[in-house]
């Protein structure tokens, strides 16, 4: 028995040591000017926000702080899920880009300074009045990009402003031989629906998400219900590709940039891709149509956002680099231009299409939150995925009523 116990000792010691390593926070004590240190930064990686882009973005700050090495980390799946896994393992980074606001409780309160207060939508994105996430710029959503040649061929003179006009336009485009509205499976189906329906709901009911969390409103009695019916009609009329569920985001983008599809609902992040495609037709953009056709605020959300982990033992350094990334003119305009984002006071040389979006922003009466909400008034995590399932269901014969019931039931079950 003694022998058995003696064997256990090194095993137990090793495990204890390993668990200490796992549960301790990453990094080293507060950096001094002489002591080299490392800042870990988990970032969102996309076709335009590449690891090379991130390395270049932080390089000037690293040069100014030669004793600090900023380690850029890509997520395994997406930022939210990876951060969640890292938190569970005790291996979370110091800084995170693109963290879901639902995870704000693990982030540190940002200092009450101008560089924080001057960032877009920072007040709206505060959780219980506490600012934990700052954005570099504004990402416009609920935009419809269109092929001007296709519109001309279909005899459409003006960009539609109402849902009815938009449906007529799609029908005319189908008649002219185009795929009326480019869409895809994956996350695209849900994202596009929220992009289209969001402005109508949020403009008329800005507190809809808070009210839904309180159980005072429902999908069944909202414009989401009516818009889902419109979408179901589009599916029935063949105004969206019948095989959309089997298409990828890249397929949908290629269908538009190749001239096969006439319209494409997406956020401003798609602009660099469209510009790079160098289409042989002119691309225009208009805001997602509403039921009454009246313009209102544009849908926007903070883009390229940063938060500092509350467990970081290098908060001062982390705040310093976040300040640089969200206020330095070069850093900000670099981040803005790569995704075609917008921020007042930070002009940059933009493409015609980006400028067209900026014109929409200038004409709007402000910004409203997108479908998933901001700050304290947010949808439960996974909302986009649930909307995706419901909208994809319309392609395979599911009913509008069933989908709406599913959304209401899901929200009720998942609301915190």
């Amino acid at each position: 028995m003694f022998r058995t116990r003696s064997r256990l000792v090194p095993v137990a010691a090793a495990l204890a040591f390993a668990s200490l390593g796992l549960t301790s926070c990453s990094g080293t004590p507060e950096n001094t000017s002489a002591e080299p240190t490392e800042l870990r930064m988990l970032v969102n990686v996309t076709p335009v926000l590449t690891l090379e882009f991130w390395d270049a973005l932080v390089a000037p700050w690293e040069e100014a702080n030669p004793n600090v090495d900023v380690v850029i980390e890509a997520p395994a799946t997406n930022v939210g899920e990876t951060l969640q896994q890292q938190l569970a393992a005790g291996t979370e980074p110091d800084i995170v880009d693109g963290a879901p606001i639902a995870m704000a409780e693990v982030l540190a309160e940002l200092p009450d300074e101008d560089w924080v207060n001057d960032t877009p939508l920072v007040e709206e994105n505060a959780v219980d009045g506490v600012k934990k996430i700052v954005g570099t710029g504004l990402q416009m959503q609920s935009l419809v990009f269109y092929n001007k040649d296709a519109f001309e061929a279909a005899g459409i003179d003006e960009a539609p402003t109402s849902v009815e006009e938009f449906t007529e336009a799609l029908t005319a485009l189908k008649g002219a031989g185009y795929v009326p509205l480019s869409t895809a499976g994956e996350w695209v189906t849900g994202s596009q629906f929220l992009g289209l329906a969001g402005p109508t709901v949020m403009r008329d009911e800005p507190d809809w998400i808070a009210d839904r969390n309180a159980g005072e409103v429902s999908f069944a009695e909202s414009n989401y219900h009516d818009y889902l019916q419109v979408y179901a009609d589009w599916v029935a009329q063949g105004l969206v590709p019948a095989d959309a569920n089997a298409l990828t985001y890249d397929d949908a983008t290629a269908a538009f940039t190749s001239g096969k599809a006439a319209t494409y609902t997406m956020g401003s992040w798609i602009v660099p891709t469209i510009d790079e495609a160098a289409t042989d037709f002119e691309v225009g953009v208009f805001r997602a149509p509403t039921f009454d056709g009246k313009p209102g605020p544009l849908t926007g959300n903070p883009a390229v956002t940063y938060g500092v982990l509350d467990t970081s033992d290098k908060k001062d350094l982390a705040f310093d680099i976040v300040e640089y990334l969200t206020s330095d003119e070069t850093a900000v305009t670099t981040a803005l231009s790569v995704e075609g984002n917008y921020r007042e006071g930070y002009p940059y040389e933009a493409s015609d299409l980006t400028n067209a979006i900026f014109a929409l922003a200038d004409d709007s009466t402000g910004f409203i939150t997108p479908g998933a909400g901001l700050g304290s008034n947010i949808a439960p995590l996974g909302y986009g995925d649930q909307v995706k399932v419901v909208v994809q269901g319309l392609y395979v014969g599911d009913s509008v009523e069933g989908g709406i019931t599913l959304l209401d039931d899901w929200w009720t079950a998942n609301a915190q």
Binding site: G80, D251, G382, V389, V396, D398
Partner: protein, 325 residues
């Protein structure tokens, strides 16, 4: 202990060496109690490492999963709240979970059947050792070596709306086949690709099993006038009973936990129709931030896997006893 060692022919080794030597080397008498203590200590010492490993890497994680299943933990909050059996009750009311359970059951049943029929069928065809057969064995086993995630991507490029098949059909002026956008066809596609990817291991196990069958039994059956079909059903298959059991259990357990292939082939679509339980668990735990609920689903899946394993093994025991007889 030493004086107890015997040869197959019977006499004790020490006794065979002569009485003088036996007297010189005979160990001191050990009390029965001390011997029992030493025996039990030895047994414990041999079992302890495995027991510690199983406890650390199986029992404790299961315990943690069960504890989490009783909470509303979102995966990042430091203080999960205790909710009792609410997560388990929620599973019964969750249409998505029940749909995923149904599809997983269909996938496991059809997949297990498919993998074993294909595995045994090809094993019978490739029993003889020839160069061609060796090449075919390697070729058919190869998909099992490739990661399921990669296989899903490969097949999505083949079956997708703009995939190889549909592009060819479109070029020929024919209608596309909605392999991944129609609910029934996408489910069939997942099942078919799963069988294609997994049956290689069944093939190898059946080949090994077939090679253990005594040729004389097959010769005897032939001399008795048995047809090829009768030899298979009356001789080979009964003798393969233990291998069949292993194959069925391995396939069923693996298919009940299918995740990566679904992720890369259909992403659970269209409209969640090809989501499996494992896919649901991951989605609920991380995308939805409901790790407590995901843990409850994991516990249920674990219980189902254990129950299926026990059921199959019990059911197959009779067939194996017949072989032994």
């Amino acid at each position: 202990m030493l004086n107890k060692i015997t040869t197959p022919s019977g006499p004790a080794v020490l006794r065979a060496a002569g009485p003088e030597r036996a007297e010189r080397t005979a160990p001191r008498a050990i009390s029965r109690r001390r011997r029992a203590f030493l025996d039990s200590t030895g047994q414990v010492a041999f079992v302890a490492p495995a027991f510690i490993m199983v406890t650390l890497f199986v029992l404790i994680p299961i315990g943690i999963a069960f504890y989490l299943s009783l909470t509303n933990w979102n995966g990042f909050s430091p203080n999960p709240g205790f909710v009792g059996t609410a997560n388990y009750e929620r599973i019964l009311e969750d249409d998505a979970a029940l749909r995923a359970g149904t599809f997983t059951a269909i996938l496991a049943i059809c997949g297990t059947l498919g993998c074993n029929v294909a595995g045994l069928g090809f094993a019978l065809l490739l029993t003889r050792s020839t160069r061609f057969n060796s090449f075919m064995r390697a070729l058919l086993f190869y998909p099992y070596v490739i990661g399921a995630l990669m296989i899903g991507f490969i097949w999505s490029a083949i079956l997708g709306a703009n995939g190889v098949i549909n592009s060819a059909l479109e070029s020929a002026g024919l209608d596309k086949i909605p392999f991944l956008s129609d609910p029934t066809l996408s489910a069939l596609s997942v099942i078919a690709v799963t069988i294609w990817a997994a049956f290689g291991v069944n093939l190898v196990l059946y080949l090994a099993g077939l090679q253990t069958i005594d040729e004389s039994m097959l010769e005897a059956a032939k001399i008795d006038g048995a047809s090829t079909s009768q030899i298979f059903w009356q001789v080979k298959l009964p003798l393969l009973a233990p291998v069949v059991t292993v194959n069925i259990v391995l396939s069923a357990v693996a298919l009940l936990k299918t995740y990566d292939l679904v992720l890369s082939l259909t992403s659970g679509g269209p409209a969640g129709r090809t989501e499996t339980v494992a896919y649901q668990i991951l989605a609920v735990s991380f995308s939805n931030g409901s790790l407590g609920y995901g843990a409850a689903q994991s516990v249920v899946l674990m219980v189902v896997v254990v129950a299926v394993t026990v059921a199959i093994t019990s059911f197959r025991n009779r067939a194996e006893r017949n072989v032994a007889a």
